[in-house]
């Protein structure tokens, strides 16, 4: 049977998109996964892949046309299958018309709402979303729904302003090990939390103390809309001051690497050394599909598929970590915070932050540690830094050197701490 080529929702906020061009001609053969056409949203241009294999028939979308999400653009049909685009379109419309009233209802079929090809009409919102919008004084029409056919659900309604403000405050932190002297302060990456440092902390000698911090909007930390590196660094600095830390060795991973680079230049903290692990902020590219998929994933299967990109060994992170992430999402509002952070720091699939100016000004011992096979941030971005900053490139390692090569990375941190004292 012919399978419909649909304008997909590639972005949570997206209701329509401009069709840019076909990458495959009428009647040509396509394979599932092959780039099929290009669209442009408010934010980005992107290629969309074929979801089936066969012959591309009945191209209906014209370049420049603005179409709603779900619009049928063409069909992919079997090699010897008869095809009439008008009949096909008619069949689709009939199905859409008949589906809601179809009786008798098939057994065990809990599918209540048949897909419709249009997103026009009154705003679709659940009763709960309507009540929350009413209580919070939010216009429903201004919201983008994340449910089927753009239905607005409770998590699409922004929290009341007072709640955002009251949640501002110092960050959650934990002493992974305590010791005399200036500690190592560890700052995790986007979407993670302080627990990710435990394996590395276990590799440090007992003489080195380690304090791990949950970034704003992550783990058990509140989110007060810190959407710049300076704001993140300031909140971390305030947390360190509260903890009585005036001098520290800073270790940061990914986004946390960019945060500690900013923090190294903060006035009220004496930074003794700096270790940036797969840091963000050194170049424009970042794996946009990963960010998008990571934020959209709602099941063990979908989230696990994306998180496997973090490491070279697909099982390195383990199912428990995936489940923990899902559980946190269910229990807290962190997904909303993560989405806002991603939009601020990585808009349109690019890194909108640059830490090179801060690194150029460094006079303390510093290392950049990357995995050559990093699939999130290309490792080559770490090249071209000042000659005084050591670059450690681990072969066979991905975006998580502090997990994948925790032994050697632990020794590098130890070296830095010695050099910085």
């Amino acid at each position: 049977m012919a399978s419909e080529v649909i304008l997909p929702r590639v972005d949570m906020d997206m209701a329509s998109a401009k069709f840019a061009r076909w990458l495959v001609g009428e009647g040509e053969r396509v394979r599932e996964g092959q780039p099929l056409f290009e669209i442009e949203t408010d934010k980005a241009a992107m290629e969309v892949e074929a979801t089936a294999s066969g012959l591309l028939r009945g191209q209906r979308a014209q370049p420049g046309e603005v179409l709603p999400v779900g619009a049928v653009l063409a069909w992919i049909v079997g090699e010897n299958e008869a095809f009439d685009p008008d009949l096909q379109a008619l069949a689709g419309e009939l199905r859409a018309l008949l589906a809601p009233a179809a009786t008798p209802t098939p057994a065990n079929d809990a599918e209540t709402f048949a897909p419709s090809s249009s997103v026009d009409g009154p705003t679709r919102a659940t009763p709960l979303a309507r009540r929350l919008a009413r209580e919070r004084g939010v216009e429903l029409a201004a919201l983008a729904g994340s449910g089927p056919q753009g239905r607005i659900q409770a998590n699409d309604v922004p929290p009341p302003r007072s709640e955002v403000q009251s949640r501002s405050g110092r960050l959650n932190r934990e002493w992974l090990r305590r010791s005399e002297g200036a500690p190592v302060v560890m700052v995790h990456g986007f979407g993670a939390d302080l627990n990710g440092w435990r394996p590395l902390a276990g590799r440090l000698p007992a003489s080195i103390g380690a304090l791990a911090i949950d970034l704003p909007g992550h783990g058990a930390s509140p989110f007060a809309a810190e959407t710049t590196l300076s704001a993140m660094a300031a909140t971390v600095a305030a947390t360190l001051a509260e903890e009585g830390i005036s001098a520290a060795h800073l270790v940061g991973h990914s986004l946390g690497g960019a945060v500690v680079a900013a923090l190294a230049n903060a006035a009220n903290l004496r930074t003794l050394s700096l270790a940036l692990i797969a840091p963000a902020g050194l170049g424009p590219e970042i794996n946009a599909a990963f960010l998008d998929g990571f934020l959209r994933a709602r099941s063990v299967e979908s989230l696990g598929a994306w998180m496997r990109l973090l490491t070279v060994d697909p099982d390195a992170l383990g199912a428990a970590m995936v489940k923990t992430t899902l559980r946190r999402r269910a229990e807290t509002g962190e997904l909303e915070a993560h989405s806002r952070i991603a939009r601020a720091f990585f808009p349109d699939g690019a890194q909108a932050i640059d830490i090179r100016p801060w690194l150029a000004a460094l006079t303390i011992p510093a290392k950049v540690i990357v995995g050559v096979e990093d699939r999130i941030i290309p490792s080559r971005q770490a090249e071209g830094l000042a000659g005084t900053i050591a670059l450690h490139r681990f072969a066979g390692v991905g975006h998580m050197p502090h997990l994948e090569a925790r032994g050697p990375v632990g020794r590098l941190i130890e070296e830095l701490v010695r050099a910085g004292e």
């Binding site: 809990a110 659940t126 009763p127 709960l128 089927p148 998590n155 063990v300 999402r329 269910a330």
Partner: protein
């Protein structure tokens, strides 16, 4: 009074309840086809005829209407008959006595009489009984004012609810899913009662409410374990009582979880799940709903004889998991 607790099967728990009632109250007697020497089609009455005699464990002819009429008449004279239908399907022959007589006589005679009869109904599919021996017709009876309708899912509940039903002054229908007869669970010794109007919260959860009863309550619990491994935290309400419905328990749970899935073996259209959905939609829980209410019911077809089709015609654990997953992830 509840004393020591042992593991009993659902069938043993029923037999124990019957024995307690027979021993405690000489007005109580049992009627049904082959419940005496044969011990019942599902071996529920077992040896009760040896212990209490043929006067009180009475085999009836194969004439449901006539025998049910005897039971209703006996109840009107002050006796407390407990009537076993071999299959709930056969109760359709006795609808006149149950619906037009037992359910209505107290009302029509201005409260001058009571009809304290209990009808026990082995119900549901799963044993290859085919179309005329496998139906789930709870909704037919739950539609009738004047009847109380229950469907316990555990040995503990079936004993306590059967004892409550026998003591109740009005007609009570007790549905017993055939697949439950061999399931085991803790059952206290002695007489204890379980209310005929209260649902049981079997599992607390945050993400969605699954309302089920009978065998489906067990399947919902099994599904909830699978869902938990995916990070979906399902609350499971075992209705137990189909008439009256425990409105408060359902509404409170939906207000908490914001999503509702109903699961029942009876035909989906106009079934118990439809009533529960409407009840929630009319209640104060409406403004808490963050997804459409979903019903998972039986096929719009007679129960097939083929074991594979029989399974396909009724909700299974994986169907519950799939529906709950879509609800919890905002894809319903």
């Amino acid at each position: 009074m509840a004393n020591d607790t042992r593991e009993l099967t659902y069938a043993e728990a029923i037999r124990e309840a019957l024995a307690i009632a027979l021993a405690a109250d000489e007005r109580v007697f049992l009627m049904g086809e082959d419940i005496g020497v044969y011990g019942g089609a599902f071996q529920v009455t077992g040896d009760l005829v040896d212990r209490f005699g043929e006067e009180r464990v009475m085999d009836t002819p194969i004439s449901e209407l006539g025998a049910a009429g005897v039971a209703v008449g006996a109840a009107l004279t002050g006796l407390r008959p407990v009537f076993e239908f071999q299959f709930s399907d056969f109760s359709l022959l006795a609808m006149e006595q149950i619906v037009n007589q037992a359910a209505k006589l107290r009302y029509m005679l201005g409260g001058a009489v009571n009809v304290p009869v209990v009808f026990r109904m082995p119900t549901g599919s799963g044993l290859g009984g085919a179309a005329q021996h496998s139906q789930s017709i709870e909704a037919w009876f739950a539609h009738v004012p004047g009847l109380k309708v229950v469907e316990p899912s555990t040995p503990y509940d079936v004993k306590g609810m059967l004892l409550s039903a026998i003591a109740d002054p009005d007609p009570v229908i007790v549905f017993e899913h055939k697949l439950l007869y061999k399931t085991k669970g803790p059952v206290p010794e002695g007489d204890y009662r379980v209310a005929l109007d209260r649902a049981a919260l079997r599992r607390e959860g945050r993400d969605l409410t699954i309302v089920a009863f009978g065998i489906m309550a067990l399947r919902a619990l099994e599904a909830a374990e699978t869902l938990a491994q995916e990070g979906v935290d399902a609350e499971v309400i075992d209705l137990r009582c189909l008439r009256p419905l425990d409105r408060e328990a359902i509404v409170a749970s939906v207000k908490k979880t914001t999503r509702l899935l109903t699961v029942y073996e009876g035909v989906k259209t106009l079934g118990l799940g439809a009533e529960i959905s409407a009840l929630v939609a009319e209640s104060e829980a409406f403004d808490y709903l963050d997804a459409p209410i979903l019903r998972l019911g039986g096929a719009e077809a007679p129960i097939p004889y083929s074991p594979a089709l029989e399974k396909a015609a009724t909700p299974q654990v994986e169907d519950i998991v799939a529906a709950a997953r879509r609800l919890a992830h905002g894809r319903a």
